[in-house]
């Protein structure tokens, strides 16, 4: 790492980014405010802070090379190991969601497809490969990684995708293999994962150019735990009626716990978000003005439709108050126990929803339906995501039968809207609305 690059990064942190943020704020001030939609309650004040945090993260990323080791990381990987070594981390999945929300999915996917990548591959991967090949991104510029860090606790797809990136970029790939939890986690599974962590530390140290310090790791893990717990508490505020936030908000406010977990900024952010949500709940301020029905969402967001769907459902007095997706970054954090740092890290990361069996998912969803007083279920069958989607038809059937709530499946994709038929989705949703309203 060079001193001048470190100085440059520090300068951008202290002066460069604050100056840019003030400028952006001034420009925003000049713009006419967006007309308020009467279906929604007052917007969350925290959103401006969230934007600032995420813009800062992507802005400073371009000054990270040379100043800090840079890693590209999968959303479910035990990033605490990297944070303890001071890596600057980029989450291609978060970047994929950003591209999806900005409706850049098909354009970037096409670049990857022109290079020979099948249109049937996960579109986060295609977006990322498209970005790598074209340099296009709504985030300005992403720094080239020194290391790729991947865990298959969310899917095997990331392992294939990161392998391609490692080959193309010529950088080392560190893989954390988490045995799928078909029934229950065994001591053999835990020993295997702990063994891998011990084996990977020297590789991470080499890329970082510094020694791993267990005390520092424990501090980071505690920050991580705090952020995830606070995030879980933020989600729990949606048990209030009316719920102070919608899942569409949560899809956006999820970014720090995914991308900045283990840093003080993530914990601080969720402290202020939680305070605001509790305040709204106490004051009876709902995310939507007329919350008649409460819904649950299964699977990743349809990023290019977040706003449209949020308006559509709000106009019907329907609020999403729970989602398996947003819950995933809070669900297993209670396992993180600093008296057994590596064993508990293995449990925390391998028991996540996508590495867990479908019986677990069914029971979890049934519990959420009851705790959040859910009236109906919307299942996003995401063409990109086999591990999230295969099994959903039966999951929907079993939940409907068991709990007697209406449910609907929408066939779509997370970022690639070429695979979304608005007409078909709206037809299915109309039938769902009718069933809900009649219930």
């Amino acid at each position: 790492m060079s001193l001048s690059d470190k100085a440059k990064l520090q300068f951008m942190k202290d002066l460069g980014f604050p100056a840019l943020a003030s400028l952006q704020k001034a420009m925003r001030g000049k713009r006419a405010p967006r007309k308020a939609n009467p279906d929604f309650g007052p917007p969350l004040k925290c959103t401006a802070r969230l934007k600032e945090i995420m813009t800062r993260h992507y802005y400073l990323a371009r000054f990270a090379p040379g100043a800090k080791p840079v890693a590209w990381v999968t959303s479910g990987a035990p990033v605490e190991l990297l944070r303890a070594l001071d890596f600057y981390t980029i989450y291609p999945e978060n970047h994929g969601a950003l591209c999806g929300a900005q409706k850049m999915g098909p354009e970037l996917c096409q670049v990857a497809e022109d290079e020979g990548y099948s249109a049937d591959l996960c579109s986060y991967a295609r977006v990322d490969l498209g970005h790598m090949l074209s340099g296009k991104t709504p985030a300005g510029k992403l720094p080239k990684p020194d290391l790729l860090f991947c865990s298959n606790n969310i899917c095997q797809t990331v392992a294939y995708w990161y392998k391609v990136m490692a080959h193309r970029l010529g950088v080392p790939l560190v893989m954390f293999d988490t045995p799928f939890n078909y029934t229950e986690i065994s001591q053999d599974d835990i020993d295997y994962m702990v063994g891998q962590v011990k084996d990977m530390i020297p590789v991470l140290e080499k890329a970082a150019g510094k020694a791993f310090d267990m005390e520092r790791f424990i501090q980071v893990a505690e920050l991580s735990r705090a952020a995830s717990e606070l995030w879980g508490q933020c989600l729990e505020t949606m048990k209030a009626r009316p719920a102070p936030m919608t899942i569409f908000d949560a899809f956006v406010h999820l970014a720090p716990v995914v991308s900045l977990r283990g840093l003080p900024v993530a914990r601080e952010y969720y402290e202020i978000l939680l305070a605001e949500l509790l305040d709204r709940a106490r004051s009876g301020i709902g995310a939507i003005t007329n919350e008649k029905k409460r819904l649950m969402w299964d699977n990743i967001a349809i990023w290019y439709k977040v706003r449209d769907f949020s308006e559509l459902f709000a106009s019907r007095g329907m609020n999403f108050v729970a989602a398996t997706y947003t819950n995933a970054w809070a669900e297993t954090i209670q396992h993180l126990d600093m008296s057994q740092p590596l064993e508990s890290l293995a449990k925390t990361y391998s028991l996540v929803i996508l590495n867990n069996n479908l019986e677990h998912r069914l029971n979890l969803m049934a519990k959420m339906v009851s705790e959040y007083a859910v009236d109906g279920l919307v299942v996003h069958s995401a063409r990109s995501c086999k591990p999230y989607s295969l099994g959903q038809y039966d999951l929907k059937r079993l939940l409907s039968e068991r709990l007697g709530i209406p449910a609907v499946v929408i066939e779509a994709d997370i970022t690639d809207y070429r695979y979304f038929s608005e007409e078909q989705a709206l037809t299915r949703l109309e039938a769902f609305f009718e069933a809900l309203e009649a219930a």
Partner: protein
Amino acid sequence: MSMPSIPSRAEHLEAWRESGGKVCAAFPAQYPKELLWAHGVLPVEVWDPPLAATRAPGHLQPYICSVVRQGLELLLAGAGDSVDLILFPHTCDSLQNLASLVGDYLKPAAPSLFFYNPKAPFKAPAREFYLDQLHALDRQLAGLFGPRAQGALEQALEWSRALAALHAKAYKMRALGELAAGAGEFYAVLRAGEYLHPTALIPLLEGWLAQSAGSASAGERIVLSGVLPGPPDLLESLDVLGLVVGNDDLLSMSRRLLTSPPGTGEPLAALGEVFLHMPPCSTRGSSLEERLAWIKGLAGQSKSKGVVFVEVKFCEPELFDLPELRRGLKEAGLPSLVLEVDVNQAAGGQAATRLEAFREMMA
């Protein structure tokens, strides 16, 4: 050479059951079949059952591959209730979820067992874990079917050694052009190993190899890569068009069959080494460098001039590797062709036309 007489799946299963044997429906791809043999269980592999998919589409989205769809169709058509066991090795996301869907939601009469294959790189923790998995499976099988007989695992390893030698011989003869059998025959015989017990398979292979020594037909030699050899019409097209398969890099074939035979040490440890020494494979997490070197080696050994990738539609592990493999092969002077197939559908005339054009391009 004429095709040897191979007992059909149904005949063999019936005879096996009549002798009091148990049957396991084994899903793709790698699993320690020796342990099943040692427990008196016949693994019958489920890759591409030729059934009309009528029930499975109610449980699976259309973007799930046909191997998973056909496998589920078979279980729903009754196999799930008639076998004694269903085994799901961990191969890919789709098979992982299929296993959970069957085990947790559909619950056929046969019990399901799951077997996690660790992913590359296979360092010490992976080796230990794999051995733990073998012990766990051994215990589970003993729980279901009683303890294995004295010496049964040693006997199973003997069969495994004999089969490894026969497979290696078949591949070598083919690569050197010393096997007088077309693609259709080669795969029909070797795929009998998906259901024949070694006591039937070993003599079949020995007899066939002895009778098939001879010159391979002339033609442009290729390496076949992908998951499965087929569909059948595609193999026929290869034979008709004079495209000679000199080697293959198929998940169901050489990526499992060309492993080192088990050693003679402690039986389960020896079995563990078999898995760890299998050729590079997308589903095992092998690097692109390893895969590329392996395929180039296959082409070199067999003097093949090109590679035909026959990919199952929606198969992520294979499709991710494809562009870089093709690029690397091209740089090595090996052109390639990609055909996407559904396992239960004919590849069709268009595939034949593309194969013909590919042959002309290589000539």
